[in-house]
């Protein structure tokens, strides 16, 4: 249980980091009026935010069903 808890916290941290980067990119893209701003948001920002959300969801799955042998 302790191992899964540590793993979950690490995943939360990764998820938070990815989300922060994605959201910062979104702010930059909104303040920059240029066609490249759209590309920046659509490809980079959305990718970071999406990965952050996926990592968070993975962490939930990890917490519900920790892998066998992780209960030390």
């Amino acid at each position: 249980m302790k191992l899964s808890q540590i793993g979950m916290e690490r995943l939360f941290r990764i998820s938070s980091g990815l989300t922060i980067v994605g959201l910062v990119i979104e702010i930059v893209s909104l303040l920059w009026f240029h066609p490249l701003a759209f590309a920046l948001f659509a490809f980079l920002g959305m990718a970071f935010i999406g990965l952050g959300i996926v990592t968070y969801l993975v962490s939930l799955v990890f917490a519900v069903a920790p892998p066998a042998g992780s209960n030390s």
Partner: protein
């Protein structure tokens, strides 16, 4: 638009603050309150910010100044000010037959990101050519200009429907077999190659 963008940025800042909190102290998710807050901070808010951000970007990309901020598009924006009623886009723009702030989108609503997936991919190619490769000298619409872009407004309008020329070829126009702009009828479009030899209209004069 600035107000909406301001609210969106405030929402994003809130999402960042909460995400930073969980980045610094992920252990707070051990309790039920922390779990709920994490769900809001790492799922609900980022998803909401991404969706509203995409919507804001799509709305912003409908603006004329967005389109002509690309170097290759600048002459097309300039052509809207040609002082000649034969120039179809200029006539529409100057007489507010289309919203002046969204003049490009009004007549090119099926172009690149607004169109189906194939057009969206083509739009990405255009970005690549603009900033990495070399943009083409003359920008063309693959497949030609679709009459539906004209007929969206003109079909059903009295002066369009009652025109005997239009009546005679209505089926060809609606089926896109005969183009409105290449049939010799409304064929003076942006004509960017001739912009150095024409007179320009200055708003307010």
């Amino acid at each position: 638009m600035v107000g909406v963008t301001g609210i969106l940025i405030a929402l994003i800042v809130l999402a960042i603050v909460l995400a930073v909190f969980f980045f610094v102290r992920p252990s707070v998710t051990a309790g039920p309150t922390g779990k709920i807050l994490a769900f809001v901070a790492l799922f609900i808010l980022p998803a909401l910010c991404a969706a509203t951000g995409m919507s804001a970007h799509m709305q912003r990309s409908e603006q004329r100044r967005f389109c002509i901020s690309c170097h290759a598009m600048a002459p097309y924006g300039r052509s809207l000010y040609v002082d000649d009623p034969n120039y179809v886009p200029a006539q529409h723009f100057q007489n507010h037959r289309v919203p002046a702030d969204e003049a490009c989108y009004a007549c090119h609503a099926d172009y690149t990101i607004y169109g189906p997936l194939k057009d969206k991919l083509r739009g990405i190619t255009r970005i690549y050519m603009q900033y990495i490769s070399t943009p083409p000298k003359n920008i063309t619409i693959p497949g030609g200009y679709n009459n539906n872009q004209c007929l969206r407004c003109h079909q059903g309008a009295r002066d369009f429907e009652s025109n005997p020329v239009h009546q005679a070829i209505m089926d060809s126009l609606t089926s896109n077999q005969m183009s409105c702009i290449t049939s010799g009828c409304h064929d003076t479009i942006h004509n960017i190659d001739s912009l150095d030899h024409v007179k320009f209209w200055r708003p307010g004069q």
